[in-house]
Symmetry: C2
Amino acid sequence: MQLFYLNNLESNFLELPKEESNHCIKVLRMGIGDELHLTDGNGLLCKAKIITPDNKRCTVEITERNYNYQKRNHYLHIAVAPTKNIARLEWFLEKATEIGIDEITPIICEHSERTSINMERLDKIIVSAMKQSLKAYKPRLNEPIRILDFLKQPFEGKKYVAYCEGDDRVHLKNIYTPTTPALVLIGPEGDFSKQEVAEFIANNYVPITLGDCRLRTETAALAACFFINFMNE
Amino acid sequence: MQLFYLNNLESNFLELPKEESNHCIKVLRMGIGDELHLTDGNGLLCKAKIITPDNKRCTVEITERNYNYQKRNHYLHIAVAPTKNIARLEWFLEKATEIGIDEITPIICEHSERTSINMERLDKIIVSAMKQSLKAYKPRLNEPIRILDFLKQPFEGKKYVAYCEGDDRVHLKNIYTPTTPALVLIGPEGDFSKQEVAEFIANNYVPITLGDCRLRTETAALAACFFINFMNE
């Protein structure tokens, strides 16, 4: 099954973007009548067949529409501090998209060593992981935001924060209830500051641990993603 | 806590290798009497203090020995086909070491696109992940082996194989019993061949799934690692 991404699938007759046309005709050598799949990244998965196999402007006709394709039974938002080595954050985005995540917010913290990221590049990674893992929902990637501003935003569900120190922490597996919308905060390499932790508690974030191991930022973020999905399967 | 790796910690007075000496004295700027930790990668974690802060031949004295440091309650062996892009296998090794794994075997399958790997480089990645995540057990990395030869090797525990097709598969979470030693096979990008799958069944491997998502080889291997550790926590 070959999946292509077009953010608008309203019409039944569509032209693939130049890059996708080339991939479809030149790389995959598809021809007239060959079947492919399209998603709008918003839950819609369509079957389509090739009308004109042009490697710059390939046109297709939609033959079948499946709405809410493989819609998950829970909502997961992970807010994570961008890693100093951006490849580690990119890796997290790819894996989280494969496994299942709805929303990601890069948070800038007191101990953050990186405050700027290339959103376009990260978006490309998410799209390619979505296509590769045959998903019809594209995770939403928010603009980076300062942690104290992020805390002011409302969230309809349970809010958790993972950090390294503190005896008041509970393992995520012992407090998460399946199908509950979850927001999990993951700190930077230098962990959250004491002031930040105080703010989390004041804003009703539950302190959690993801196990006994000392995990890197991107590993902790992926662990949370695995746990939540695992508990909802 | 700074952790250093020396495969022999029998003596109480030790000289760190050149690279470690440099890291300790030049990079971390440690001096006489400063405390550091050492592991032999075999469960022994030692406290030590610096005697001679030489950046080529730093000597230390062991002041405390902890055996079976954070010994896990289960044994996990993952046999995985090396990925075409070796960075993906390296990434799995780093993450699996952080999360917890005992043994890894690269398996050469019918559909394997890669049959050779740089063992020395992979070993370095495992050691660095072990030190970074403060572990005292170094996962064992075996030489690559053809899958049909691997199947002939004995394993004292439950044997599972994850592949994409087939209705006879059960989710790992529904058949794994905590503390059971587990061996999990993960196939190459092109999945296992029909003949290989038949051999697995003949050799008492239980066909499993790791969820509904289509996962890349290295993601599936990590998913199995997460699941087994998660269920044993």
